[in-house]
Symmetry: C2
Subunit: 378 residues, 2 copies
Amino acid sequence: MEFMVNKNCLHQALSAVGHAISTKTTPSILTGIKIVANVDGLILLGSNSDIIIEKTIPVTLGGERVLEVYDKGSVVLPAKYLRDIIQKLSDDIHIKLNANHSVTIKSAEIVTDLNGFNSTEYPDLPFIDDSAFIEVHSEGLQEIIKQTVFAVSKSESRPALAGVNMTFKENLLCCVATNSHRLASSELALETKITGSFIVPSKSLNELTKLMNDEAGVVHIFVSKSYVGFKSSHISLFTRLIDGSYPNVLEMLPRDSKTTIIMDTNKLVKGVDRACLFARDCRNNNVHLDLLEGNGLQISSNSTERGKIKEIQTIKGIKGEGEVNVSLDGYFLLDALKVIKEKEVKLSFGGAMKPVLIEPVNGTSQLHLISPVRSPSA
Amino acid sequence: MEFMVNKNCLHQALSAVGHAISTKTTPSILTGIKIVANVDGLILLGSNSDIIIEKTIPVTLGGERVLEVYDKGSVVLPAKYLRDIIQKLSDDIHIKLNANHSVTIKSAEIVTDLNGFNSTEYPDLPFIDDSAFIEVHSEGLQEIIKQTVFAVSKSESRPALAGVNMTFKENLLCCVATNSHRLASSELALETKITGSFIVPSKSLNELTKLMNDEAGVVHIFVSKSYVGFKSSHISLFTRLIDGSYPNVLEMLPRDSKTTIIMDTNKLVKGVDRACLFARDCRNNNVHLDLLEGNGLQISSNSTERGKIKEIQTIKGIKGEGEVNVSLDGYFLLDALKVIKEKEVKLSFGGAMKPVLIEPVNGTSQLHLISPVRSPSA
């Protein structure tokens, strides 16, 4: 194996693929990045037991020659050392495989020998049939993930709830996440002949949105029995699925509400964020919402030890009963409000201790449900 | 106590004063910031057992009115909560002291009650005679600190070495720091009638340079038996001194050298930084410097397990013997080179296992001394 590659291309690829690599990984070969040099490109692979990230460096990029492969081959090199070295070099980089799975890296006057692993010992990729896939726009996919993934359960007691439930119907992708105290759901229109429901680990989805980094373009989704793969023109991510069946939470959505109010999203985010200052001292991060006479919503929290905060925000629209007072986990409320990009947000209250429904006004088809918490004074 | 203050001024002041506050501090009143409202300004005070930072907000700043004191008084408020609240407010801020040492903070529609402490229980400031002081330019002071403070000892076995030894002579401030394996020394011309030698904790000096943040202007230095104070127009920092006598390390400086070479500082920094990649696997972070025939300095390191790196840099000037091969702690070498802003650097070698002397060429009067480490192969 021998090739010459542009420094920046290689460094970017190593950073991306490095996302899949944990320093604690065993076997130790998984602390490495697998590099495969073919005539038409360089393939870089990083993996832990759950996620595999694959990145290809083509021979030319944007009309510029960024890679020249003199000799095919493959090797596994320690991810951290390789990335640190490449980062500190400045020119084109020449890499040649030696005996004993070590490589010599040359750049200008700098010569590095780096010990690696035998690439034949690197675990095989999961088999994924790439003849059938679902096509989706990258922005839409990233959005629907961000609108739901934060709501997964952090507890290990119900493994299925640690993932986002992605359901492909004929013309729809539906994502749902819940920790049984709050729920986030969002839908994206698409066309697919592949249908089915999969539980995707939240960690993998967070990595995916980081890798796609708001980039536009098309993503192909591949599914197998225990893996799902996301392929863009830049990068691929494969993740193990979570076994088990996901509860049919959408059936639990409230059908009617007693009071519905419209608020300015941005102002409400800031108000709830302030109220969280004292809420964090309460067991349930209690933030109180109280409807006042004369079109005001009071947002408040208090901590016996520290103090209290309150503010009144103008309601932009109201339907139904004029009495609302409810305590919610302020951070759950904040998480939901923060992913709503629409200017106005609708809050629907079903009565004492009934979940509060939060939706954007005239916007994306997402919804958030938060169960009230008992007030310390109640 | 009652006043109205500009949000940004208050937030900046709280951030600065907060540097002195540790969350682990006991007594708990020291987790607070003392606020004293006088007719002509607001004084904010933060402290732990070693450092005290004082910041004044005047009534007008740059011609703009930033403070209005309606009623004098003082209180101590929890630093973290106060800063978090102020950060999340946007308008002018109105603060009024209530009974039981709580305050009400109002900004637009937002009302916060924050519990505080009785300000009379806040410890007194150390007494410092402010009639006599040493005047020094802020940039010069910051520079001389940065050129030396990194070299202090991190071990607790010799407390005096954990500080920088500042010696004021009639026309000179001399700073020295050492951990007994390396030494940094720098001098600054100034005029003073106060003379003496003080050991200032490195932590306090690091805070001081952060607070002064490359700002120009004049700093007044006040000294007492156990404290030293630095006052600029913006801010004051007082720090407890380290007891004990500082070794007379400057006497140990080598008087002659066998070989002296001149190198490009920036290139050398980058080369040593690269060599540190493998050096960190060695017990002494060994980086090897070898003089090659024909005007080259080879910089290299190797780790049996990981690999090795080497590069050759051009020597810009040489005097004396043509044979040098020495192993140094790569991080010590890097620390010293990084504070040399001059384009060229002079390295003087005294022979096998003799300390290496590092000085800028045609520049500031700083010098660095590093003892060689045994090579693993030697």
